[in-house]
């Protein structure tokens, strides 16, 4: 089992606040890895560091053996490492199909390609993926008019359209109504299994992440607290204390 992402001793501070303190973890290829921790524990900061949103203070981040801690966001995205946002982000004034088309990966795009049309196979693929997340009947609608849950699904479909090697999902079930969550988990699993996308997921919903992940890392106060299978994590004293102890705040 090879590690797709190797994070080694990564630290990141904002002013005097240490958001990540010497964090080391690995995301193995072809698996679903979870990242949990109370609010403010540094999960999103770690995601931002991995995708190049801000420079890290120290440490090393490798993606498929390549050091990426110096790369900026678009370059890392073109390597096949994508993320979705906690606050869903889509192109809200474009229709769903166009949202999908422009999300195609830009790895081998040349300048001249900017002036080319999309081949019909790509529209076909966009529609298939919209169907996969259950948005086929909404494909011609302006995406900003969709409900929040549907926008989350669209963002997920856009990520799949990019054919990433690894997808970082920041709270995929936040704000989605409970009946939809099962459908979403099913699709996340199928994306991992059928499309060969490795997933690294931040999630606050414990039943979801215990169900979905093969292994879980837990952060607290910017430090790595525990790592193990869902069963091990669930029975880990430190994790339970972190969630139920002094640092617990109401989930957003």
């Amino acid at each position: 089992m090879t590690a797709m992402i190797e994070v080694k001793d990564v630290s990141k501070a904002f002013g005097g606040i240490i958001a990540n303190d010497k964090i080391s973890l690995e995301v193995p290829e072809g698996r679903v890895t979870g990242l949990i921790g109370p609010n403010g524990s540094g999960k999103t900061t770690l995601f931002n560091s991995i995708v190049g949103y801000h420079p890290i203070d120290e440490g090393s981040i490798k993606f498929e053996g390549v050091e990426i801690s110096d790369f900026r966001v678009p370059k890392i995205a073109r390597l096949g490492l994508l993320r979705t946002f906690q606050q869903t982000r889509i192109y809200s004034k474009m229709n769903c199909v166009n949202n999908m088309l422009i999300s195609v990966n830009h790895r081998s795009e040349r300048f001249i390609d900017l002036f080319r049309d999309y081949p019909p196979e790509l529209t076909e693929k966009a529609e298939q993926l919209l169907d996969f997340v259950g948005l086929y009947s909404k494909r011609k609608l302006i995406s900003g008019d969709l409900s929040f849950g549907q926008q989350k699904l669209l963002e997920f479909a856009m990520a799949l359209m990019n054919e990433p090697r690894l997808l970082l999902l920041d709270e995929p079930t936040a704000g989605i109504n409970p009946t939809l969550i099962n459908g979403l988990i099913d699709r996340l699993r199928r994306a991992a299994a059928e499309m060969g996308v490795t997933l690294f997921v931040i999630e606050h919903n414990m039943p979801v992440i215990m169900n979905l992940a093969d292994s879980i890392y837990c952060l607290a106060n910017g430090r790595l607290l525990a790592h193990g299978s869902p069963d091990e994590i669930q029975s880990d004293e430190r994790v339970i204390n972190a969630y139920l102890g002094g640092h617990y705040t109401v989930d957003d």
Binding site: V51, R89, M94, N95, N105, Q128, L180, L184
Partner: protein
């Protein structure tokens, strides 16, 4: 008639009208030429301002840069430019028809190319700015360009340059510049229409809607922005070259870099017609130009008040513009689908419809 045929018919009618206009209304040839330039202004402004969400107040810079580049080439081919501008006609300046036309054509080409180079260089400076900072930054570029040109003795400074005189009858001159303006506006429109029909259009709209997301998806945003800016500069540079020669005398503040007139007009025209659409800027420029000509003719003294009034009405009551309003009112005409049940479904139903919608997905 299919949609495509209707479209072709529309283009045909417009082309015939454009060609016939100076012969039908010879007294208005100059005004209609300016209208074509206005359309070019609006269409090029919309590339960045409408489609990409980068509201530039400095696009008129390329108009002036093209105008001066063309003048330098036209004169510099046959005379020493510094001597020519310093003499105010004291040296005998006489361009043969051959020299005149060679200079004009080469000047227009040079204007386009120099403006593209300027655009690529400027892109690396101004695209670091977002929102209002970008607008002010680009405005600063134009204002300083005007001031710098005014202090540049080589091109005559604030005194300006009298351009080579057209070797022929005034009517022929008017017709030639009319067709140059018309041709440029049509070429600009067709190029922009083509450019936005492919990936470029979607990339531009993605940047408009959420640039950070676009970067996160791996779109080469800088390349898209620079390309859009350079295309606008290419056509604006040529329009400046033609416009300068049509006026015959150029100077930095009022003719070449008129930030508060043409520079602002291009924004208003796009807002009036509906920014971010293909036809909006064309409609907006036509209406605006008509409005302007009417108020300038019949309400002289009040024309700026009328113009200010129009801007206020647009910004407060009519932000979506003519075409934007039509799209809202008759979305089906524009191929936009609106799901009236969407809100009800979102409130009531399961959001993932488990039934397969497509044959191939049912497996």
């Amino acid at each position: 008639m299919t949609f495509k045929q209707k479209q072709l018919a529309l283009y045909g009618i417009l082309a015939v009208a454009g060609i016939a206009a100076p012969f039908v209304f010879p007294a208005y040839t100059f005004q209609i030429t300016v209208m074509w330039v206005m359309i070019l202004f609006a269409v090029t402004w919309d590339i960045m301002g409408g489609q990409m969400g980068y509201n530039s107040l400095g696009n008129i810079f390329f108009f002036g840069a093209g105008m001066y580049t063309c003048a330098i080439v036209q004169i510099g081919l046959y005379y020493d430019v510094a001597q020519y501008t310093a003499s105010y006609g004291a040296i005998k300046v006489d361009f043969t028809p051959e020299q005149y036309f060679t200079g004009l054509v080469l000047g227009i080409i040079a204007a386009a190319l120099v403006c593209v180079v300027f655009a690529v260089i400027l892109a690396h400076v101004v695209f670091g700015l977002r929102g209002p900072y970008f607008a002010i930054g680009t405005l600063g570029v134009t204002l300083s360009a005007g001031e710098l040109t005014g202090a540049w003795e080589y091109v005559g400074g604030g005194g300006g340059i009298a351009l080579p005189v057209f070797p022929g009858e005034p009517d022929d001159r008017a017709l030639m510049f009319y067709f140059m303006g018309f041709g440029l506006a049509v070429a600009t429109f067709l190029f922009v229409k083509w450019m936005f029909s492919g990936r470029f259009g979607l990339a531009a709209n993605a940047i408009r809607d959420d640039e950070e997301k676009a970067e996160g998806m791996g779109i080469r945003t800088m390349r898209v922005k620079t390309t859009g800016f350079a295309v606008a500069a290419f056509f604006l540079g040529m329009s400046g070259a033609v416009f300068g020669n049509m006026i015959g005398f150029i100077e930095p503040l009022e003719v070449a870099f008129p930030s508060v007139t043409f520079g602002i007009f291009m924004v208003i025209m796009c807002l009036l017609g509906g920014k971010g659409t293909l036809w909006g800027p064309v409609i907006g420029a036509t209406l605006f130009h008509a409005f302007k000509e009417v108020t300038w003719t019949y309400m002289l003294g009040w024309q700026w008040v009328m113009l200010g009034g129009l801007i206020i009405v647009l910004v407060v009551f009519f932000q979506q513009g003519v075409l934007g309003w039509m799209q809202e009112k008759w979305p089906e005409l524009f191929g936009i689908e609106v799901d009236e049940g969407a809100i009800a479904t979102a409130l009531a139903g399961p959001e993932i419809d488990e039934r397969p919608h497509r044959g191939e997905a049912a497996q």
